[in-house]
């Protein structure tokens, strides 16, 4: 049995030792994130059967739980940990050829820094999902955020640095709100352990319990790109290098949604708050999809689409029943796999043509067939078409709302379907440009547009295979999804497991 602390200690250790490896040889530095994430993936997969049986509690330091930090590895945690390890592994394989190709290596050790920051971002994300203590969640959430600020500005060009500075200022305000809320919670309840705080919160009516909840949702909502707080999103995702855009859209904003869910469901148990979350999610969905529709820059379009999808996931979590939360988590898995595939596919397309406008990508379908096929599959699965993973996940959400048998909720479902139609419209615009339009006639650049290298194609093929296989046979996911949903809804079992 693998001790779950190794899921965090091994990537941290490998990241700390990258400079030492760099002195031995420059080539093996690229392979270290692959080794780290491979270890994480295998360890998470080994732990799944044991965790589904009974969640694992790891006491750090050997003291009993309210007096120490504990890790709580439940179905939700192990699911997220598998996803993070999988996407981290695939994107680091893609980055073997992509980061060296970006050029401008005027400083020695620049590539080393990229790989260290990348591995530390993933270790921070894994730390957030596996912890059971609220201040520890804040510390690892800060690791995630600060690495993403540094990685957005990694290339040092004009749009990158400008987006990173705006992202940094907004993200830091959010982090300060979270810290104020932790101070309030400690002042009232005298402990920082999530199970201990949950034991003492009985109702939401008093303002001193309501105010920390609002601060926490606002603070985490800045990272989770909820409607009024996502001004940083399109700039940051579009000016980062493509591997980092895939990681930001695929992991960082999902960790924001996880933190909101953990706080609202497990810590506060706020049943009356669900309707507000649901409407907020719906608003984010509509505004995200409408903004994506009018974009001409493909990466900004994909960034707004991420905001819309986060609204859909928040809507599904706000329904509040087991089927709703399971549907929300399934949609999250769909978004992670599909959005990573989309960003990886467009990475080399943009590098070969040199521009991010959709009009300059016309006709690439003939020259880069596998990348265009990957883009098409990613787009279809995000819209929700049948043989891909998007179809069972959206179906689950629609069924969970219909099960509520409330007229208001039926109106909400109609709005969600309108959002899906808008999504289909703008993705079809791009696919039409890829396949059915002619290449802009520039003879000099014709010779350079060829397919992406092998190291970049392998992750795309693996992601396509996963999307199709889970889409055709979604039953393999329903077991873990239902356990995850009941972990969120069953506060009493959580408290009893930690504080027995």
């Amino acid at each position: 049995m693998v001790n779950p602390i190794l899921l965090i200690a091994v990537p941290l250790g490998l990241a700390f030792s990258i400079p030492l490896f760099g002195f031995v040889s420059k080539k093996i530095v690229k392979l270290i994130p692959i080794v780290g994430m491979l270890f994480n993936l295998i360890a998470s997969l080994i732990l799944i059967p044991k965790v589904l049986n009974k969640p694992i509690i790891v006491k750090l330091g050997g003291f009993p739980p309210p007096f120490c930090i504990n890790l709580f590895v439940g179905p939700v945690g192990i699911l997220f940990s598998c996803l993070i390890a999988l996407i981290g592994l695939l994107v680091s394989i893609y980055a073997i050829r992509y980061i060296g190709a970006q050029g401008k290596q005027s400083n020695v050790g620049q590539e080393e820094r990229y790989h260290m920051l990348y591995l530390l971002l993933l270790a921070g994300a894994t730390g957030v999902v596996l912890t059971g203590d609220i201040f520890n969640l804040f510390v690892f959430y800060e690791i995630l955020c600060i690495s993403s600020y540094a990685l957005v500005a990694y290339l040092g060009d004009k749009p990158g640095v400008e987006s990173a500075s705006k992202y940094l200022i907004q993200g830091s305000i959010g982090s300060s709100f979270i810290l104020i809320s932790i101070a309030f919670l400690y002042g009232q309840f005298g402990t920082l352990n999530m199970a201990d705080i949950a034991q003492n919160i009985n109702s939401l009516t008093s303002v001193q319990v309501f105010f920390p909840l609002i601060l926490l949702v606002t603070g985490f909502g800045i990272e989770a790109t909820i409607f009024p707080l996502n001004a940083w999103l399109p700039d940051a995702h579009s000016s980062a290098p493509s591997t980092i855009s895939a990681i930001l859209s695929g992991i960082a904003i999902e960790i924001g949604i996880y933190a909101i869910a953990r706080v609202v469901f497990t810590l506060f148990g706020a049943q009356d708050f669900f309707l507000f979350l649901l409407m907020l999610g719906l608003l984010t969905l509509l505004l995200g999809e409408l903004s994506a529709f009018s974009q001409n820059n493909i990466k900004r379009m994909l960034a707004y689409s991420s905001a819309g999808q986060m609204g859909l996931i928040l809507f599904a979590l706000g329904v509040g029943t087991t089927e709703g939360i399971a549907g929300g988590l399934f949609q999250l898995i769909t978004h992670v796999l599909s959005k990573a595939l989309l960003f990886l596919a467009t990475g080399f397309m943009i590098y070969r043509t040199g521009s991010m406008e959709i009009t300059s990508l016309q006709g690439i379908g003939r020259k880069m067939p596998l990348s265009s096929l990957a883009f098409t599959i990613g787009a279809f699965s995000l819209i929700g078409l049948p043989p891909f993973i998007g179809f069972p996940s959206k179906l689950m959400i629609v069924f969970s709302v219909l099960l509520k048998q409330n007229v208001l909720y039926t109106v909400f479902i109609v709005i969600v379907l309108i959002g899906t139609v808008i999504e289909g419209a703008y993705f079809f615009k791009v696919i039409q440009a890829l396949y059915f339009k002619e290449l802009p006639t520039q003879e000099s650049s014709d010779a350079q547009i060829q397919e992406a290298p092998l190291a970049a194609l392998i992750p795309m093929v693996i992601l396509m295979a996963l999307i199709i296989s889970i889409g055709v046979y979604p039953k393999i996911m329903t077991g873990i999804l239902n356990s995850a949903a009941s972990e969120f809804l069953d506060r009493v079992a959580y408290i009893k497991l930690v504080l027995k």
């Binding site: 330091g61 530390l120 309030f184 005298g190 001193q208 105010f211």
Partner: protein, 231 residues
Amino acid sequence: MSNIRMRNIIGLILLFIIAFAVILSIIEIPFGIPKTTVGNYYINNGIDETGAVNIVTSVVLNYRGYDTLGEVTILLIAALGLGAVLGTIKRKAKKEITPSSVVLSTGCKVLFPFILLFGSYIFLHGHLTPGGGFQGGAIIASGYLLVYLGCAKRRINQNRFKITESLSALIFLIVGLLGLVFGGYFLLNFLPKGIPNTLFSAGIIPIIYIAIGFKVGSELTGVIDNLIEES
């Protein structure tokens, strides 16, 4: 410019709402009364369980040592991010610097070893007196800053500082993993606790603080070197 005036007013209204909510909720937290069971447990049982007489150190490194691991990582990320962003600036030709006067350069050279000594004293005695690894490391970095500003004739060797930083961080992590191997819990205090209030007490706590002191010192010095190099 009514646009700016409107924005100021909206900002003020938002702040008033926040202030009102704050006042309503802060009244319930009385000031100056012992409130927590966790704090009392640490004060009463701290010396027996960890051996350090400075209770804050035993909380930071033993009861909540995992948070300190995260904190050390955040400093590393800040140093890396600074190096990555400032590393893309093209190097200009060296500027002419007027050499400093005799008083300044002699004063800096005389003060520098004492500052290093003071910083080392702080992180070595972290379990007995207020202080610890982070504070000692910051003092060591300020010694290097004094030399850079006062009498610098050459640069630090970046490679050696990078190796020190990586090795110290690895020592912290390995001590935690050794706790896992010997006792079954990460960051378990597995060395003998010794007699309280002496230098060689408190198990793994002085070892970790020495590692953190070296790490923070070399890291902040690298940051200062990056910032001075680009100007």
